[in-house]
């Protein structure tokens, strides 16, 4: 596996006591991994994602993605890096209300100066939203809007897909559909970093779970995926008849 993301002794200090500071975080993520970042709110997990995405800069330490040291990029270079290498999915979908679903999906490719209508339609087909391509966001359900946002995140074939509580605004069923899609993308080779507070979702899809507390990674668990017999996972036991 190739290392895709590297953070070395990264700190992030916010003025005015804003939560989410990081305190010496080091991390290596290989391409193809599905990693979940868990922790209480304000622990710094979203900050980690924003630094890796190049949406924000660390106070000290280095963030390298795909061999590129993000500190060496100026604002234009950083914008280009985000456009070409990073797909970002947020809790709230941030679709432009005056554009159709298809037009929203196409935004990142248009910023790149390419035409990707065929790929957009393919992606929307894969994500099960082909039939709503010409609708405006206001006429879509939350689950549909999030799938449009995922298609938009994937349109430029990002090396890294970052998802910050992508199911946070969805009902259970739509949330599971969205997570199933992320799981499928990962099986097809997509590297994914997921911020979530939902341990069930995290362990279901991610084979690696980072626990972040007070700006530090306190645990880095790699989980096994082997199929186990039911009796190795659950023992139902009542008392046996003794009399």
């Amino acid at each position: 596996m190739n290392e895709l993301v590297r953070m070395v002794d990264v700190t992030k200090v916010y003025q005015g006591g804003i939560t989410g500071a990081l305190n010496g975080v080091s991390l290596s993520v290989d391409s193809g991994e599905f990693t979940a970042i868990m922790g209480p709110s304000g622990s710094g997990k979203s900050t980690m994602l924003n630094l890796i995405a190049g949406l924000d800069r660390p106070t000290s330490g280095a963030v390298t993605v795909g061999g590129t040291d993000l500190a060496r990029l100026g604002e234009t270079g950083l914008a280009r890096f985000r456009r070409d290498h990073v797909g970002f999915v947020f809790q709230f979908f941030y679709l432009l209300p005056n554009l159709t679903a298809l037009e929203n999906v196409l935004i990142p490719s248009q910023l790149k100066g390419t035409s990707a209508t065929v790929r957009a339609r393919d992606l929307m087909h894969t994500l099960g939203i082909a039939d709503i391509a010409d609708r405006f966001p206001a006429r879509l359900s939350g689950g549909q809007q999030q799938r449009v946002a995922i298609a938009r995140a994937l349109i430029n074939r990002p090396t890294l897909l970052l998802a910050d509580e992508p199911t946070g605004a969805l009902d259970t069923h739509s949330g599971e559909q969205v997570m199933d899609l992320l799981g499928q993308l990962n099986r097809d080779g997509q590297t994914i970093l997921l911020v979530t507070h939902d341990a069930k979702l995290a362990t279901r899809y991610a084979a690696r779970v980072l626990s972040v507390v007070d700006g530090e990674i306190v645990d880095d668990a790699r989980l096994e995926t082997a199929e186990r017999a039911a009796a190795e996972i659950i023992r139902v036991r009542g008392e046996e008849a003794s009399r």
């Binding site: 209480p40 069930k200 362990t203 507390v213 306190v218 645990d219 668990a221 009796a231 659950i234």
Partner: protein, 176 residues
């Protein structure tokens, strides 16, 4: 006493002999409870002694005896099904005793214990997720419900470990 009532429950459908009871019981539990045939025979004998089941006809080939539910057995089963589980909560995992001992020894530093336990719970959560998927795929909605219960329990265990790790309940001095 669930084996006893499990056997009674299985006999509500049709008369069964010992091996059928064992196989159906284990299939119902989806492999989460294995019983040996001796336990089944002992249970059937006790149920017969107490008048809750009775032999259904003469012994068949290779001496197999089938049993059926008696009216008393049906009544006992219905009574048991209607009763809520109200006994004390059973905490049978070692972690509870380890926690108490670790508070007394190791200078009250629980972090290594909690970190290892957290990983075990994360792994269990992952395994339970797969078991739930498998149960749904096999059309075993009843089993998926059981696994769902286990999942929620494990989520609670994780929350408990996180609460202990964050120090909210560890700041008091270790007891002597």
């Amino acid at each position: 006493m669930s084996l006893k009532y499990g056997v009674l429950g299985l006999l509500t459908g049709e008369p069964l002999h010992g091996y059928e009871v064992k196989n159906r019981f284990e299939a119902m539990l989806g492999g989460t409870w294995e019983v040996n045939i001796g336990q089944i025979y002992t249970t059937l004998q006790r149920l017969e002694r107490d008048g809750l089941v009775r032999p259904a006809g003469p012994r068949g080939d290779r001496g197999k005896q089938t049993y059926e539910l008696s009216a008393e057995g049906r009544q006992a089963l219905e009574h048991w099904l209607a009763e809520p589980d109200s006994g004390p909560q059973t905490l049978h995992e070692d972690i509870y005793v380890k926690l108490l001992l670790a508070t007394r020894i190791a200078n009250g530093d629980l972090q290594p214990l909690l970190a290892r336990q957290k990983r075990a719970y994360l792994q269990r959560l992952r395994d339970l997720n797969r078991l739930e998927e498998r149960a749904r795929r096999d059309g075993r909605i009843d089993l998926a419900r059981l696994v769902r219960g286990a999942l929620l329990h494990t989520e609670a265990d994780l929350k408990w470990i996180d609460e202990l790790s964050s120090g909210r309940t560890t700041e008091t001095e270790a007891p002597r």
